[in-house]
């Protein structure tokens, strides 16, 4: 009886060691998973927010020329066109942590046409015009282009179509 008990104790001891090594492997896998997570979050590809940025830029321009459904009077004045981004409170300054100041990162173009005849009434553009040529290209590290339109009238019930073309480059920050 005594012998059997001793044998059992010995087996139980080995079992305990086995459980301990399994526990260590669980710990090892948890550490590995943590490394995966940390590596992914630290060295991971950046979030591409250029679509949001281009959309905000477009909305800002739209707010700049129309208010409460009507085209703002000053939008058709020549002074407005002279400093179109400044009048809309838009600056093209960017942080230089990725060296994007070497070339302008934005391009905006506003075209106002007569809604019925499609005749050009007003055109203003600003920024890096070279970005326009990359809009029709296909690839990964290309600027984000957004072309949107809206309908607007003036106080005399003249109808217009406003086309806003926004391009955001910033590929270094958003696409690696």
């Amino acid at each position: 009886m005594n012998k059997i008990t001793q044998k059992h104790i010995s087996k139980n001891k080995k079992g305990g060691e086995k459980i301990l090594s399994v526990y260590w492997f669980v710990i090892l896998f948890i550490v590995a998973a943590a490394i995966v997570y940390m590596t992914a979050s630290f060295y991971g590809k950046p979030y591409d927010v250029r679509q949001v940025e281009a959309d905000l830029l477009t909305n800002k321009i739209a707010d700049c020329i129309s208010e409460a459904g009507y085209l703002k009077d000053e939008a058709l004045e020549p002074q407005f066109k002279d400093d179109f981004p400044g009048n809309c409170g838009i600056t093209f300054d960017v942080e230089d942590s990725y060296g994007p100041k070497e070339q302008e990162q934005y391009y905006i173009k506003l075209t106002l046409t007569d809604f019925s005849s499609k005749n050009n009434v007003f055109k203003a553009k600003e920024g890096n015009v070279n970005l326009v040529y990359s809009c029709n290209l296909k690839g990964n590290n290309l600027p984000f282009c957004l072309k949107r339109s809206f309908y607007v009238i003036d106080k005399d019930n003249n109808q217009y179509q406003a086309d806003i073309f926004s391009i955001v480059r910033k590929t270094e920050k958003n696409v690696k």
Binding site: T39, Y43, Q51, S66, Y151
Partner: protein, 162 residues
């Protein structure tokens, strides 16, 4: 003594094997990390309101017909879209937002039931199955703008995402 030496050798072999396993697991974790990271991260940007479509709707409602009556006034006195405001609405919203959204609808809705009136220019209001089930308008599937005309009805533009 001999027994102790054997024990030391066994422990050393265990740690050599363990080190190899640790290195393999770490290498595997780094490999998984590099494979799981794509070219870029998508932030899943879904618009629930469209500023330009809203601006178009405001201007549309302020547009006057040949008699000088604004569309807002026309809709107040009429049951549904007429030839002038229906065609103008179709030109504006289909032309400007038809390519961007899978479905564009403009029409009169009942403000109590949210049910849309069928019209000759945009047809039936697109079904909102989530709304049918929950009675809460789902916003992630579409961008909408609603302007009240009176206590019972409103004009709504519904732009369904692709």
């Amino acid at each position: 003594m001999l027994n102790k030496k054997n024990g030391q050798i066994a422990e050393t072999i265990t740690w050599i094997v363990a080190t190899v396993i640790i290195i393999l697991i770490l290498a595997a974790s780094l490999l998984i990390s590099s494979l799981s990271i794509g070219n870029k991260k998508d932030i899943g940007f879904v618009k629930t309101t469209d500023t330009l479509a809203s601006k178009s709707l405001f201007s549309y409602l302020l547009t006057k017909d040949a008699e000088g009556i604004a569309i807002y006034g026309q809709l107040k006195n009429q049951e549904n879209l007429n030839e002038f405001n229906g065609n103008l609405g179709k030109t504006i919203f289909e032309e400007f937002y038809g390519g961007e959204y899978v479905n564009v609808w403009l029409g009169i809705i009942n403000t109590q039931s949210f049910k849309g009136e069928k019209n000759d220019y945009f047809g039936e209001k697109p079904a909102d199955t989530k709304f049918e089930n929950t009675k809460v308008e789902s916003t992630s599937a579409k961008a909408t703008e609603l302007i009240k005309i009176n206590n019972d009805k409103a004009i709504q533009v519904v732009l369904s995402h692709k």
